[in-house]
């Protein structure tokens, strides 16, 4: 892979050039958090953010989008959600999340809605620095080797730019004079130093290797009942997870006419009606059963099938779940190392 240098002052001119014809999405501030948003004012772009509220999959498969415009005669495919975009500032864990979704959407039947959007979205990755919730090192998703067109490592004086695809190379060639092909030994040393320090900055760790067995061994453990009791079944964990994909399809008929839309919108396996069939039979009526499905899927099932967890260590569930049920608390509970405050509270709530 070709690696070149970009001076920090040259970033905005570069973004200017590449966004002339294509919408640029990047992390910008929203309250005290960050979101991916279409932007033309590059000074708004947050270069040192950790996780955005929602993962970048919201741009490929928005929370609700139209699959078809319908009338009495036909279904007209609607790919308006998949317009060409450049997505800037995607962190390694989130790129891994997209790789998991890529793989998923290519299994058995190809999903044209995802694949078309993916094809039309250029990914410019950006390195990041972990906070107290990140654990991408445990999932080995703190480094990234594929799944992006360009990747920028944010060093002190310059960006190191990995060119990951032919389209990425095309972006560089729009203004090659902004880049420097010659890396000095000093540059390489400063990258190595950055990498060592960044790796040391991860503050906690989860043993994912043990998870598939533990999920199996503790399948009937009391801990699920306790968690189910605390869970609000709000679906937030799924909404913020970079690898969640479940959805519903709804027909929307316009008033007074024969026209309508078929809309696909996010669903979550923790919601009550997720496994309910017509007639009222619900295969997962209990919240504990639905939580178990979520965590079996993340920590065991995906590993059985594809050899790695479908968790990328972004920490979103940790900062989002209103009652503190997340990969860390559940993972630690499976390992038998309950986090004192969380479990003390849970115990109190359950026995109350």
């Amino acid at each position: 892979m070709r690696i070149i240098k970009l001076k920090k002052d040259n970033l905005f001119p570069f973004l200017e050039t590449i966004s002339e014809k294509t919408a640029l999405w990047a992390p910008v501030k929203k309250g005290d958090k960050h979101v991916f948003k279409e932007t033309t004012d590059f000074s708004q772009i947050e270069m040192n953010t950790t996780r955005t509220i929602l993962p970048p999959r919201k741009i490929l498969l928005p929370p609700a989008f139209s699959m078809f415009n319908t009338n009495e005669e036909e279904y007209k495919e609607d790919f308006s959600h998949a317009a060409k975009k450049i997505l800037f500032g995607v962190h390694p864990c989130d790129i891994h999340g997209l790789l998991i979704l890529d793989n998923f959407h290519k299994q058995a039947f190809l999903d044209p809605y995802y694949l078309k959007a993916r094809e039309n979205t250029l990914i410019i990755g950006l390195s990041c620095w972990p906070d107290e919730y990140c654990f991408a090192k445990s999932t080995n998703t703190h480094i990234i080797e594929e799944g992006y067109d360009l990747f920028l490592t944010n060093l002190e004086d310059f960006f190191l730019v990995w060119i990951g695809s032919s389209q990425g190379d095309d972006l560089i060639r729009l203004k090659p004079e902004l880049f420097d092909e010659n890396l000095t030994d000093k540059d390489i040393q400063s990258y190595l130093k950055w990498q060592t320090e960044r790796d040391k900055a991860y503050k906690w760790d989860l043993n994912f290797t043990a998870m598939p067995d533990l999920v199996e061994l503790k399948y009937n453990d009391q801990l699920w009942e306790k968690l189910g009791h605390a869970c609000l079944a709000c679906g937030s964990c799924s909404n913020v997870c970079p690898t969640c994909n479940c959805y519903n399809i709804m027909d929307k008929q316009f008033l007074g006419g024969k026209d309508g839309k078929i809309v696909r919108h996010w669903d979550a396996c923790t919601l009550e009606e997720y496994s309910e069939v017509a007639g009222g039979e619900n295969f997962r009526e209990k919240r504990s059963d639905r939580l178990k499905l979520f965590y079996t899927h993340k920590l065991q099932a995906y590993i059985s099938k594809y050899g790695k967890p479908s968790c990328v260590g972004c920490g979103r569930c940790i900062v989002t779940c209103p009652v503190g049920i997340n990969v860390r608390t559940v993972g630690n509970a499976l390992l038998g190392e309950e986090e004192d405050t969380f479990w003390a509270r849970l115990q109190k709530e359950v026995t109350k």
Binding site: F68, E77, F109, Y247, Y274, A278, G279, L293, A301
Partner: protein, 286 residues
């Protein structure tokens, strides 16, 4: 479970194919029979499926839901479904009359392993609407009668009026190459000449089972599995020769929407036909 998935209809797997209702009538008070034909004749004839597979049926404005195909692939061109009025989609389907249009996409799922069932005894046990998917494989066996040894059907319903395809099964009883036993839990008509009792009371009527060479196919309400499986295990039928077809919520049929997930498998791709062996090793199946 098989890994081979083929899309028969359009290239965007979500686009339904318009199909016309050729014939519809009530099978019971809340279950209707629908015979449909894909409007495009070429596609109608090339819609190849396996017994036990399902299709997504849609009504514009109401939505889409999965239904077992009740017809047999040995009679191509027309597709048949038994549909119970249970929700908004089925309500919309029930309002349609003959010549009305629905959308169809599929076929989906693994279906029954009819190749493996060749030269074996076939023991079909159905209850209630479980008849829908198993009628497909029963008709398939009858259309290819010389490929199978004994074919036995045990069919149970709550009462005579609720027996799906009652007349069809009563007439099948006349066939000499088929052992067909019918039962109702209770006879409220006083005219029922067949057995009275739950479906498991029919087992003693079946003589000389050769368990190693028997495939048993089961479908019915969840409560039925518990008792029927016990009987089949008692007969020493190998657990991987006991097949059942399961119901799950499905929005896509193509392994993407997630609703039918069980462990690491999707009922719409790796099911809906599972063996009793699968059930013992996969949680939540039944």
């Amino acid at each position: 479970m098989n890994g081979e998935h083929k899309i028969i209809t359009q290239s965007n797997p979500f686009i339904p194919e318009p199909a016309r209702i050729v014939r519809t009538y009530h099978l019971t008070e809340d279950v209707k029979f629908f015979q449909v034909r894909i409007v495009d004749m070429e596609k109608a004839l090339s819609f190849q499926y396996k017994a036990g597979q399902f299709a997504m049926i849609s009504v514009l404005g109401a939505g889409e839901a999965p239904f077992s195909i009740s017809s047999t692939p040995s009679r191509p061109g027309l597709l048949e479904f038994c549909i119970r009025k249970a929700g908004s989609v089925t309500n919309a389907i029930f309002r349609l009359k003959e010549n009305g249009l629905v959308g169809i996409r599929g076929p989906y799922g693994n279906g029954f392993p009819v190749e493996k069932m060749k030269d074996k005894d076939i023991l079909i046990v159905v209850g209630g609407l479980g008849t829908a998917p198993l009628r497909s494989v029963l008709l398939y066996c009858l259309d290819n009668r010389d490929r199978f040894r004994r074919v036995i059907v045990l069919h149970g319903a709550k009462k005579p009026a609720e027996m799906i395809f009652r007349e069809e099964f009563l007439s099948l009883k006349q066939r000499e190459d088929l052992e067909c036993h019918l039962a109702v839990d209770a006879d409220d008509t006083g005219k029922w000449t067949e057995n009275v009792g739950v479906v498991t009371t029919l087992f003693p009527l079946v003589n000389d089972i050769d368990p190693a060479n028997t495939y048993s196919l089961v479908c019915g309400p969840p409560i039925m599995y518990k008792f029927v499986l016990k009987e089949l295990v008692k007969l020493n039928i190998p657990k991987d020769q006991i097949l059942m077809t399961l119901e799950r919520r499905m929005k896509c049929g193509v392994g993407k929407c997630g609703h039918c997930a069980i462990d690491y498998i999707y009922t719409c791709l790796d099911g809906p036909v599972f063996t009793y062996w699968d059930v013992l090793h996969m949680r939540e199946l039944i």
